[in-house]
Symmetry: D2
């Protein structure tokens, strides 16, 4: 069953485990004729890869991409585009102690019970390494969207209780890449970095919020009633490891508002129908309305901590899970390109589907 | 394209507009052999229908259901089960003034632009009336889940700033249906009702939060990596009209926690592996872990208010949208059965899909 | 599971049993803006309906269509279009004797075993009455294709051993509707009619071949590698009741040819690349090449005969199945609009999907 | 769009071009817990590979398989199983002359027109090399089916006008692999081989018929009304390169029979309900009835001949396509494992889907 596929028009299917030969993705439905910029794909891979700063895991993975199909003389051919990312730097023996142990708040127990077997090395299929394949596919999607003037920019809005106080409109989003934490507000970035440093020293982890802004989205993307634009964005984000919540536009803060305050008044500007406010977050009735799309993705503190924890083995016997290995104290900086990738995959899918709307 | 379908194993397809002949749903993949209890379906329809209390719209719709196929001598046959709910009490002329007007924060503008045409009577396809079909299908799903010991109970957790302070474990969820607002905490219910009354008198609307609890879910439901259980729950909830946010387990509150605090410690109890806390919300790695599944759904204040509002017509000319008709000041009470229905549809889909997991 | 749906872009889902309330179809993905000609739909229903001539069953069914959704002021809105055809003239007691009996070469035994229950009245879901829904949906598809200059014409090529000797190019296909058997060769038609009369008097049934021609199909329809145009045509045809074989272009006769004879030579005519022969049947590599698409569909003699037959009941006990009721001695005349409908559904699906091919 | 995927429960997605890095397949939905026998996969690859006898192309390709994911310690894990087959022995310069030329009855013209670009080296995506991925996936499917006692055996029934006169029941199907042409009737095999030799010397090609027998299939596989067992078999077979026709059971020969002759009488034998004849080919109403499933697949003479042919280039100018390279004079011997693979993929998909039928 296509459990490992996403998208109806631009369909990606990912495969691979964290400690097998590699991770890959097949894109079926990539339009033909795109001049594929490999450097742009590599750039996104760099943004996601481990070991990129002191804030992230110190594992080194180069994440070299190999195009196995679907590109000819630099252009997409309309046939399935397969990208493969070989695993390297594997230390399987690091994981031998996990064969019989269920790490707290990991997928060990549920995978073992559901499938009756699991690749216990580093999480196997449930490892966030799978998101490397998403980022590669998303980098292709982004290039398609660029041809339509659609841009996607995410940043770290919050780490623990430290958050950016400014709205996204008040920020210079080009600064996002200027610091290791990927927060476009330099002062807040410094505080976040300090907090992550503290947390790492405490051998603990911490969560946060990624905010994502999509600009240039034309009116009409999204397919009610089930495949509403924000419903698919929600699913796509919630399918990322460690995500516990999603909100679009006013989101949970809409609870404190009255309808008369929340409604976005229409007006006309240069022949274009716009809204004066954007509590809707750029989506009305499940369809983009031409305003900026913005949404938040909540990441829990990651489950792998450098402390001993109580747990059980497969027989239910008490065990101690030791904290060891090289892991992220906070995934937020590396989550930014993943959120962008998933947003790009949602938008490119609807952008293609929208071609079939009218006679 | 199956934009109006949900579910891969238990697939529902809804059709119908608010002011056409009726609303319906086709269920493809309903297992054969279910003794269908029509009263249980009718009960859910009653919980959703307008005019059920002074807190909701005063429109009267009986929402009689007709089974058009798939049931023989009281049992499901495994063929498509179509349920049709004729519309009644239609007053199309009430909507003539909307032909050329885009109501703020409704789907009028986006539908008109996307499709080049729209049934402007009462929202047409974008009307929340479509959820009647979901509730009918969900009532079938619930009956299947009951055979497996799975129960779904939702309630109103918050209206405006008034919220239930107790956790769901501290509440008697059987009290949910004891008041019009569907809040199992009687005192809070009274406050919510008073607030809704106030808001209605102010010709305004207000939003809130529905909390949903699924008990008896076996380990193993959910299909990583994209069709994670909570990702599908998120999509399903976000596809309901007026929903702006979703969180599962600790959700957004996980941001304030450290990993060492957030992790759910495993232990063994009577041969069953359990977790001492449940910040995960019953889902780990996208798969149910046997604990209660609980999540929140944020509803914005509905867009239809009884006040005049500035807007534009299709040509961009300024118009005044008058506030008239019979509408809900707060959809939360009626949203409870809709949330339950969508949760049931997600769970029954995964419950069937899980049959294919192991050799 | 979407077992009762066909098409990825223009998705139809049929529901209904032969002796329940009615038969219906939901079309999801019908483009907005089509001026729907109801008379054209009714005409196709007339071509399929029973009792239209002495060659078919004498059951009278009017097959009135009801549009339940998706059309507003005569035009499609892009929302699901539901068409319902109430059943009438039901005589369920005619079928009481079948409750415990498996009719030879019908679906009684397989449905009963697979589902553990079946609506035994007149075949229930397995009845060819379900094709009424396909014809209705196909009539919508045809109208869309007409806007693109695509036409679909089928006719009866063979009944028993009597076949049209001329190629389709030598025939005037406008004569197809001029006789009850739907054969555009008037002399052959007379022979076919005589044969069917004979077969009916013998209380027996007979099969035959429908040939279908699609003209005006642009280059580019069909989606390799699995969704090849002729593969989908094959599936669509084989999903029609009583079909046992399918061939496209040279089909089975290609076995007697050498490659040098079979290959279709390209040439250029008025700037268009054409083929001198068309053994390919208008499809190369699974994609339409602009030439006529033509294919054959083999229908077995229908299983319901007016003779007593040996069979067993559900317990395996020998029983006699009596030949009674009102049935077709030969379904070929009524199969013509069904073949056309399924061809239209395949083509419209690919026509829409092709919009997503190129950047 | 999932054009390159097949199957709803056991979903395969193939990728790769004939002269790119390789060909691969991702299986999503492979049940966990299968002890994967790599030798059985290799055996099937050997049966399909070029250069295996003088009857086939003399290209040498080893078709080594690499498991990239989804298998752990020899067993399937329920996660996507990716198999990759690197291309070797590529001589791209052999194809430079095809850049601007459309080979007759190949997919060059349709791919170029549909996509605006094509990998012209050896057919690229439209090459029958893609079937290597199908055979690999089919070899996994076969192993699953074996656990349920289901076997699939195909053989060459006809080459040109030379055909096996015996029914499949009269043949010893274990002899199929005893000769290069894969015909279980030794005498006919010799005639076929002689014919193929002749055709090759004439620098021409010839087609034929593969017959396939599936035994041990339980009652209940197949999902009406669109996903009928024989409809999916038809689609699967027609999606194989060079296939022009499909028939099941009596097939086209049913045209010469009366219903009273064609109907398969039920009887009971040792508590099992059986049919005395099997004109139905093991499928009734789209569902397997427990009898042998048998069907025929018609292959045209392959388009690549060793003769000069007239054609045009992309601008419509006349060109001569030279006959060169190493190609099959008759694909039938190598088509046998491909037909078996596709049949296995259809059956395993329905075998899994059938688990969801009953409550």
């Amino acid at each position: 069953m296509s459990n490992n596929s996403y998208g109806k028009a631009f369909t990606i299917s990912t495969f691979g485990e964290s400690h097998g030969p590699g991770i890959g993705v097949v894109i079926d439905g990539c339009p033909s004729g795109l001049e594929l910029d490999m450097d742009k794909i590599r750039l996104e891979m760099q943004r996601r890869k481990p070991g990129q700063s002191r804030l992230t895991t110190q594992r080194k993975e180069e994440d070299e991409i190999q195009i196995l199909s679907g590109v000819f003389e630099g252009r997409t051919t309309g046939t399935p585009l397969c990208i493969f990312i070989p695993n390297e730097n594997q230390k399987p023996k690091d994981y031998a102690h996990l064969e019989q142990t269920f790490r707290p708040s990991h997928a060990d127990f549920t995978y073992q019970t559901k499938y009756g077997i699991r690749d216990f090395r580093g999480g196997g299929r449930s490892s966030a390494r799978e998101t490397a394949a998403r980022v590669a596919a998303g980098a292709v999607a982004k290039q398609i969207l660029e041809t339509a003037g659609i841009k996607i920019l995410a940043y770290v809005q919050q780490v623990g209780f430290i958050q950016v106080e400014k709205s996204y409109q008040e920020l210079n989003l080009e600064l996002t890449e200027s610091n290791d934490v990927r927060c476009p507000d330099p002062e807040t970035a410094l505080q976040m970095e300090a907090l992550i440093d503290t947390v790492r020293k405490e051998k603990d982890t911490i969560g946060g919020l990624v905010r994502c802004i999509c600009t240039g989205v034309p009116v009409g993307l999204g397919e009610p009633v089930f495949d509403k634009l924000h419903a698919e964005l929600g699913k796509a984000m919630l399918s990322i490891n460690a995500v516990k919540g999603f909100q679009i536009g006013s989101g949970f803060s809409s609870l404190g508002m009255r309808g008369s305050e929340h409604n976005d008044e229409f007006y006309s500007e240069n022949g274009q129908i716009r809204t004066r406010t954007n509590h809707s977050g750029g989506v009305q009735g499940g369809i983009s309305n031409g305003e900026d799309i913005y949404f938040d993705v909540a990441f829990k503190p990651v489950a792998t901590i450098m402390q001993d924890q109580n747990s059980v083995d497969a027989d239910g016997n008490p065990v101690i899970v030791e904290g060891k290995g090289r892991h992220d104290p906070c995934v937020l900086p590396r989550a930014v390109p993943i959120v962008e990738a998933m947003a790009a995959l949602v938008l490119v899918d609807f952008w293609l589907r929208n071609r079939m709307t009218k006679l």
